[in-house]
Amino acid sequence: MTVDMSKGGDRAAEPAAPVDPRVRRRSRSAVARSAGGDRWLTVLIGLVLLLAGVGVALLSYGVFGTGRASRPLLDPIMLDIVAAEPLLWRSVAIVGGVLLAVFGLTWVARSVRPEPRPDVVLNGGADTTIRVSSAAAGEAVASQAETLPGVARARARLVGSAAAPALRVTLWLADDADVRAVLAQLHDEVLATARAALDLRALPVAVRLELERPQPTPRVA
């Protein structure tokens, strides 16, 4: 499937409207797949282990009293408390186990799930919808970005959700590229055309700049 992105350049001439802060946030989160959830859960588990380790070490060295330090790990007092209310503690253990299992499986599923690539659905009329695949839209943007002066290679893909898509563009620039000019042209020509072609009023964009590897010069002319 190909997407005609040659029309709609007239939108670029419109004065810049104030950008919704939500769109700004979406453009920031489109930079890369977020690892925020993984990071904070790992910090939480690490802190729990750290506090538990430090607490037991202090107890073991007698900081909370030598009497407490010499008590058995499975304290008979605690065992008596559990034995007095077996139904309650069994229920607590089962609920805790189920919650732990659900939480762990949800975390695994979220961590290993591939990043979504939403298609864009265009309104083609009363009984027609046109679906532009994420790959087609990305290829169209990338191929147009590659025509900009100073851009050696480009890659683009749609990220986010189908209701709120965003565009992630990676540009490999030549060493002598004028970065400001490349970004301005990308914004005014490529992205304005993409918004018009995909019929999206707001399309947050995250641009990643890389340098093209220099071509190895032949040792023998």
Partner: protein
């Protein structure tokens, strides 16, 4: 560290889920099968007897606690250092975010510094706050080479639309021998 976290996060999730499932299985098994000797999957009665024989000031408990604390500290450090070290650039509009890596900036600075005829080689480290250049110069290089290189790097940094301009530190080492 981001790659480590990518591997670590699902593993931690699997560990938590496994512990949860085992707890549920063992508690339910002990409840509905009271005549069952020992645990179904985990030998928890034997573990209970071992734990009952240990006191808090036992060397084994002390060592395990320190080990658990160290593992926790490592997890915190891995998670906190797994941030992206991106450099933000000024974008033409607010709905656009432009980033690059410190490696790209280091390569641009290195190319600019090595373009000087008086520089034999250069190594560059770059971050959002600081660009450090160590240049090796020929021994007949002019005395003001360091200032020249600083000016060149500053010029490059003003050409780039960086949101935050890093400080520049240049050190020049003279190489013995003829050019």
């Amino acid at each position: 560290m981001r790659a480590v976290l990518r591997v670590l996060a699902p593993l931690l999730g699997i560990v938590l889920a496994t512990v949860g499932v085992l707890v549920v299985i063992e508690v339910v098994a002990a409840w509905v099968l009271p005549e069952q000797e020992g645990g179904l999957l985990v030998p928890w009665p034997e573990w209970g007897m071992v734990l009952a024989g240990l006191s808090w000031n036992d060397i084994l408990v002390r060592g395990t606690a320190i080990g658990v604390g160290v593992v926790g500290l490592l997890l915190v450090l891995v998670a906190l250092t797994a941030r992206r070290a991106d450099l933000r650039l000024v974008a033409p509009s607010d709905d656009m975010t432009v980033t690059t890596s410190p490696r790209v900036l280091a390569r641009l600075v290195g190319t600019r510094v090595r373009a000087s005829d008086d520089v034999l080689s250069a190594s560059v480290t770059a971050s959002e706050r600081r660009v450090a250049v160590t240049a090796q110069a020929w021994d007949d290089a002019p005395d003001e080479l360091r200032e020249t290189l600083v000016d060149r790097v500053q010029e490059l940094l003003t050409e780039l639309p960086l949101r935050r301009t890093p400080r520049v530190a240049v050190s020049v080492q003279e190489r013995e021998g003829v050019r």
